[in-house]
């Protein structure tokens, strides 16, 4: 039977979780949308309503899982202060995490279908009188009128002569490329441009890998995010389970810094699991023992396995009240 103080703790836990999740979501979505806005060099221009909505929605899905994971970790650390009712609090954390994943993903799916198609895509800003270099095509436009550049000097590696003039080039925002109009048209994806200002906003290797894994994780939920889809619910539940299981890591040793950093490392590993499980080599390997249908459950299976392993480790740990007395003297 829960006492009033414990109920108060539980209620506070619930409120804190919801507020933290909302705060982290707002922070991450705003930061991602701002970076995206700057990447397309729209500084000084307030985004029109539809563009702003589109930006926020596009930024939303990749930030959902990081926000939930950070919220869950912070909640788990706050549980260290609980003297009683931890089991119920852990159960509540698991439920809140699972429900958050489920409903935010369904919400994101809904918003993407409703809002995104309304807005025109953003294009990276190219300036005239700047020499841009890419893998095979380098170019220098003399003048610009909106998305049209004319004339354009082009240098193509491997052609003879390498230099030529295109009377016009058009920036295609849909494909994110530049189309050079001439006797024979050329197309250049702006991602390949090496010295565009937008390269400044590309993340370094470690961060890029993290973003990649987050993106893969987010895309794992983007199909059939419905309450009647068992696969979706299974994935959400298994992810919530493994995140809640990090409780074991949170109190793993009597060195809090080590526990915190190890939990962050484990959270990073959870994101990496999404990427690793979906990589062709691992799928080929798993294909030896799993059928195609079973392969769909590889990711939830991996999370459940990891959770079970963490639970086994918890058996080896000293009782929580011992740990708490040694660490915080209480």
């Amino acid at each position: 039977m829960l006492r009033f103080a414990e109920v108060k703790h539980i209620v506070r836990l619930f409120v804190r979780f919801v507020l933290l999740l909302a705060a982290f979501l707002v922070l991450f979505v705003a930061a991602t949308a701002a970076v995206r806005w700057v990447t397309f060099h729209q500084l000084g221009n307030a985004p029109p309503g539809s563009a702003l909505a589109s930006l926020l929605v596009q930024a939303g899905r990749p930030t959902i899982l990081p926000a939930i994971i950070v919220t869950t970790l912070v909640t788990l650390f706050s549980l260290l202060r609980f003297s009683a009712g931890r089991a119920f609090a852990l159960l509540l954390t698991f439920l809140l995490t699972g429900l958050s994943i489920t409903f935010t993903m369904i919400g994101a799916d809904y918003l993407e279908h409703v809002v995104s198609p309304v807005s025109a895509p953003l294009g990276r800003r190219l300036d005239p009188n700047i020499l841009y270099r890419a893998d095979n095509i380098d170019f220098y436009a003399l003048d610009r009128d909106g998305a049209v550049f004319e004339p354009v000097l082009v240098h193509e590696t491997g052609r003879d002569p390498a230099l030529s003039v295109f009377q016009q080039a058009e920036q295609d925002r849909d494909s994110g490329s530049l189309l050079f109009r001439g006797a024979t048209d050329r197309q250049l994806g702006l991602d390949a441009v090496e010295n565009g200002y937008w390269k400044a906003f590309e993340a370094p290797q470690h961060v890029e890998q993290l973003f990649r894994d987050i993106s893969v994780a987010a895309s794992s939920f983007d199909e059939n995010a419905r309450l009647d889809n068992i696969d979706f619910l299974l994935l959400s539940g298994s992810l919530a389970l493994v995140l809640t299981s990090l409780w074991v890591v949170v109190r793993l040793s009597r060195w809090p810094l080590f526990n915190i950093i190890l939990s962050l490392g484990m959270a990073r590993a959870v994101f990496a699991t999404f990427y690793v499980i979906q990589s062709p080599s691992v799928r080929d390997f798993l294909g030896i023992v799993l059928s195609n249908q079973e392969m769909e459950y590889a990711l939830p299976g991996a999370f459940v396995t990891l959770s079970v392993l963490l639970l086994l480790v918890s058996v080896l740990l000293p009782p929580f009240h011992h740990w708490k007395r040694e660490v915080s003297g209480g």
């Binding site: 020499l131 390498a162 993340a203 290797q205 470690h206 009597r254 950093i261």
Partner: protein
Amino acid sequence: MDKSARLLIVTSLGVYLLSFAVFAVYSLQQFPGEGILDQFYVNWVLANAFGQFVDRLIPIQAFAVALAFSLFAGHGTRQPRGRFFDLVRPALIVVLVSGFVYTLVVGFAEPAVADARQQMEYRSELARDLLNAGNEAYEQQDWNRAVTEYQGYLAIDSENAEIEDRLAEARRRGDESDSGREATEEDFSPGYQVTEQDAESLMERAREAMSEEDYISAHYWARIALDLDPERPEAQRMVQRAREQMASPDLSDLDEREVQLFEQKREAYTAWRNDELFRAYNMFSELAEEYPRDRDVRRYLPEVENAVRNVAFLTDEIGRTIHRPGTTDILFMDDAEVGSGERTIVAIDRLVTTGTGTYARGIEAMEIGADGETLFHVQAPYGKFREGRFLLQGIDPGGREPSYRPNYLVRPEGEQPLPALEVEPSPQDLHMLGDSGPSFESASVEDLLVMADLYPQVGYSDYTVHLALGMRLLLPFSFIIVSFFSISIGWTWRKRYISRPPLPVIVLIPVIPVVLAVVAALYHYLHRVIIGTVLLAGGFPLALVVIIVVQAVLLFVALAVLAGQSAS
């Protein structure tokens, strides 16, 4: 020394040494093998390890500081007394001194070491190139060239006994074949050079030559005197008389061979004076082979060759140098000033600078008007940089006609094709504009400032250079701020073990720097986004202001968090 400072120094040094050892082992695996000479093996590994170590020094420092205040100053030791800030003040001074040293390292030592590593790679590539050229010459029994190439190789790899033996052998065989020649090396050295600066002393030489019936020399000296003093009537007369004598000389006392030599010299000299430079060069070169001791030939051939070198390069220079290590894929706008209407773009496939000059392969240039009309378009297989222009035509030594000429795909009607292409940037600048030029990461602050100045002049945006400069300026601040935060975090979450942690925890300690590396990369990336945004919005001066303000705020917060720590 205070305990906290001593603890921090000892822990930092230990972590630094361990990290450097890890990077050294990693560099051993990265060693490019046959690409680097054996003699550079150790230095290359150390330089590479140093570069990697400095690149990751901020997370390493964060780990060291956190470890010092979390693991080694944790529970179980005697409880400290007094305010925490007072206790760690000496450690803060250590952090500040370390920050100063770090500034020097990233500002000077790291670029110098990166440059040294690139030099090792460059010299290894050059040595390989010289060795191949030497071996090729050796097999072709071109002993003099083999000696030159092997000497170049041994200047880099002086301990190579095998090549020393081959050099000695090439020298011996070269001497044997030279002993059959009548002429010595002096045969082709210039007879004498024009050192007189006044017309009278030149006229004295002209008179002397005229009295000896050496009309070619008389004409030569009188012409130079006339160039110096066009109003001198005696010089005008002397030129006229010498020309007449050359046209109808009294050859009665000479034998047939001397007559023929005189006629050939007169023809060559006349060709030179009529600006038929390549023909004159060819004729004097042939005369030099036939009459190596002739005074006139010895005098005029070097001068004609010098004149040729002003309008063309010698193809053997290209053959000897263009495969040497250099910069590839250079592209720039030659007149990037906006508003002039016309634009010239220049592409160079490969640029090599050696002791004898700067050589290019695959030069192409195009000028267009504001309406996109091509004003000229030229291609040249090779070129040599000389006094602000690339000579685009090449002549074989002693050749009559250029072997390489520029190919004008488009040229203005009625204008003669130019044998040279004028360019604004110097060879040193051009090397900064290629694919293999210095990267922003390894460039020194000085190089970055040069690039910031150069880039807009050659059509590139200075945005990326300014961003690199901003990020470089940020590093010392990051080092100090991260260290201060690490002290607070380490102390707040210090270990609660009475003695050392259990073995599994110790085994997992290397996870900490790995996670910190990701956190540090994220911290660095956030700054990059902020600086990049401000640069786009307001330029470099505003970005500098923002860097200083943001770092001041972060420093204040770090110190405030430190001050808020409890000692117990």
